[in-house]
């Protein structure tokens, strides 16, 4: 039986590895991307997972179409678009607008880790819903972004739940790295040789201090 990592695609083949997947300890992680054991699905189930119909999505209430937080990201992305075209002055102006909107995001009442966890979990279903729409439209670009983001969202929830279980010791003596291209979060002494999600080389990772 083969088990496949839903984050990086690593294949755990029970035949060659010699240890049945079920007998691996709970704290076993993907040798490639450090995803936890529950991110692996049996090879045939992986196909099923992909075909799963839309999940029930909780209604987002009073959601403005483009709230300040979205405008902040929209304009910091346009700043990157200007930067890539070597328009450094335009980049600076877009950053100024992005910073304005970032500061304008209202405080969220009752913000705590468990609310963060709930939103992260909701986002997994929002990614699923968006992916269905993008697939129906044949929008490859959107599918690309949603594939990356969906994987990252799963990693986020698993790191958060690990922290909820183990507290500070979950991240003791270990560095946290963020892929500056796709936002993948990796914990370890050194960043991976290539990002398991978007495949950029290790120097694109930045250490969180």
């Amino acid at each position: 039986m083969k088990y496949i990592c839903q984050i990086c695609g690593y294949v755990y083949d029970e035949e060659t590895e010699g240890v049945p997947f079920g007998e691996l300890p709970d704290n076993w992680t993907c040798p490639m991307c450090k995803a936890p054991k529950n991110m692996f699905l049996p090879e045939d189930a992986e196909e099923e997972e992909r075909k799963k119909p839309d999940m029930e999505i909780p209604e987002l209430q009073d959601m403005e179409r483009l709230p300040p937080g979205v405008l902040a990201a929209l304009f910091s992305n346009l700043a990157k678009g200007a930067e890539k075209q070597y328009q450094s002055h335009q980049e600076k102006l877009f950053r100024e607008i992005a910073a304005y909107y970032e500061a304008a995001v209202p405080e969220i009442p009752d913000a705590d880790i468990s609310l963060l966890m709930k939103i992260a979990e909701r986002n997994i279903s929002l990614y699923g819903e968006a992916m269905e729409t993008a697939r129906r439209d044949g929008d490859r670009g959107a599918m690309r972004a949603l594939t990356w983001g969906g994987k990252i969202q799963k990693i986020i929830t698993s790191i958060l739940s690990q922290y909820e279980k183990e507290g500070e010791s979950a991240l003791e003596n270990v560095d946290i790295w963020v892929c500056t291209i796709c936002g993948f979060i990796y914990t370890g002494e050194n960043p991976p040789a290539i990002c398991p999600v978007c495949k950029v080389p290790s120097w694109k990772f930045s250490k969180v201090v």
Binding site: L60, M63, R65, L66, P67, G69, V70, A72, A73, L74, N77, L78, G81, A82, Q85, Y86, Q90, L93, F94, I97, Y100, E107, I108, A111, L115, L116, I119, A120, N123, L126, Y127, A130, T133, A134, R136, D137, D139, G141, A142, R144, A145, W148, G149, I152, I156, I159, L160, Y163, E168, L171, I176, V178, I181, C182, G183, F184, I185, S206, V208, V209
Partner: protein, 206 residues
Amino acid sequence: MKRIAIRNLRLCTKDCLCLYVCPTGASDTEDSIIDTSKCIGCGSCSDACPSGAISLVPAEYPAQQRKSEKVMDVMEKLAASKASEEKIASMLSADESAPNLKRLLKALKQSARLSAEDIMREGGYMLPQSGNSLSLLSRLADEPSQGFPKEAAKELLSSIRCNDGGYEPPSAMYKCERCFTEFESSSGDKAVCPMCGAEGNHLKPI
């Protein structure tokens, strides 16, 4: 199609063949960024570069892929939810005293922003010069919320030329003080008197 050369500084090993082959000196700059106003797009530098550090890009970018309303809709909804994730992580990390959780929250904040940027990039706002981006910017600048950096928005709107017909800069009337001609000029273009060719201080907006 006119092209211009760009240099990837990460790959550049300063073999400097581009300096030898460039007919206009565009690649010889103190900051290593190719001077796009001098570049004629001949491609000699990218052909000669032994490290593959120079590539040619179009001077005017093509229109970005059109997005359906439905895709834009779900992407905006998802981006809004990622933005909440970013905000909560940001608020919590500011007050957190446990060092490892603080680092984790900072990582989550960075990651959420990168994902939201990517979602909006694929949700119809990839290029600064697209009609979507420019008309949004112009709407925000027309009815600015308090403290909105209006000057920055105006400067962007007048310096970026739309590449897909989705945004028309408003036109303005000028009077030429040299020949007294009154004329209309699109605010995206530099105003020039159609009668006598006067520019700059000779023209007064009316």
